[in-house]
Amino acid sequence: MLEMKRLSGKKAHLWQRYSAYYLLIFFPYLGWQTLNFPRYADIQTLLQNQFHGFFAVSSLIAAALLLIHLWVGGRDILIDYSLRSKTVTWLNLYQIILFLITFDLCWVLYASLS
């Protein structure tokens, strides 16, 4: 279980910054890739293209950093706006949701590539 006192300040700040820098470069690249793709391409083809060869590494890093960015941003919003008595519960719930999203992404990726 997550506890308020175990949440980091400096580390979270750094991860949020570094992930933002990376995603700032990655998303325009992703947009450019998608624009250059045929209109009839389905999501499976797009994923296969994105996770092929050299681009697989950059896409995997982007997915991981996006989840980290989501965690820090969502965590801050919950600390700000949720009721104090419920903050830890919401944070734990949010953590579980992110784990489920990670699992789901892995499954989609596996299904697309296999």
Binding site: M4, L7, S8, G9, K10, A12, H13, L14, R75, D76, I79, D80, Y81, R84
Partner: protein
């Protein structure tokens, strides 16, 4: 002149309400400050609760929310305000009576950053010298009068006044972490490294906009964050 003042008596009222006063402007000086108007209103209604002391922008006790902006009533020219003038207590703090708020949490946060020099050995008989450049670094950091205009305009402080140190306390924290005579910089930065203590600041800069002394707490907090990240 139409003046609306927030009134609240804890024994009589369930919640604050606005009371309208009509004031003859000719009874005040042409260069009168807002505090003079409030004191004039208190002569009309002696039950009006208001806090003030030095009346020249030094003590910081007469901070109020006027027409939606936090300011010191003793240094705000009356003619600079649009009518009707809406006067409320500082937002985000419990109201004691009318325009007087309880600043206990604000002072606790200030105390929590240990706003005093920690130098070893601390010998009162001996001066702790600084170069002019080292002294210059403290400009804009030590002039805070603790009026609470900044913290009362900060949403992060409204949401978590018991966790987030707030702009005034963090400005003081920055002042002592950059002081060349202080030897506890690393400890200070370590204590401030928390998602609720320092990193709750989102730099919307309301604090800087509302500071009646023209200080820049937002920039000080940014410098503080940079120093926490660097670790020195």
């Amino acid at each position: 002149m139409e003046v609306l003042i927030s009134r609240y008596h804890p024994d009589k009222d369930d919640e604050p309400y606005m009371q309208t006063f009509e004031v003859d402007g000719s009874q005040l000086h042409s260069d009168a400050m807002l505090l003079e108007l409030i004191l004039h209103l208190r002569e009309i209604d002696p039950t009006l609760g208001v806090r003030y002391s030095c009346q020249e922008g030094v003590c910081g006790s007469d901070a109020l929310n006027v027409n939606g902006k936090n300011l010191l009533s003793c240094t705000t020219p009356l003619k600079s305000l649009k009518e009707p003038i809406e006067i409320r207590p500082l937002p985000g703090f419990p109201i004691i009576k009318d325009l007087i708020v309880d600043l206990e949490l604000f002072y606790q946060q200030y105390k929590s950053v240990e706003p005093f020099l920690q130098s070893e050995p601390l010998d009162p008989q001996q001066e702790h010298l600084q170069t002019p450049k080292q002294r210059e670094q403290l400009d804009g950091k030590y002039e805070c009068i603790l009026c609470a205009c900044c913290s009362a305009s900060c949403p992060s402080f409204w949401w978590n006044p018991d966790l987030f140190a707030g702009p005034a306390a963090l400005l003081a924290a920055q002042r002592f972490t950059i002081d060349s005579r202080d030897i506890t910089t690393i400890d200070r930065l370590h204590k401030l490294d928390s998602p609720t203590k320092t990193f709750r600041c989102r730099h919307i800069q309301n604090c800087t906009a509302s500071c009646p002394k023209g200080l820049n707490p937002s920039q000080a907090i940014q410098s503080l964050k940079n120093r926490i990240v660097k670790g020195h």
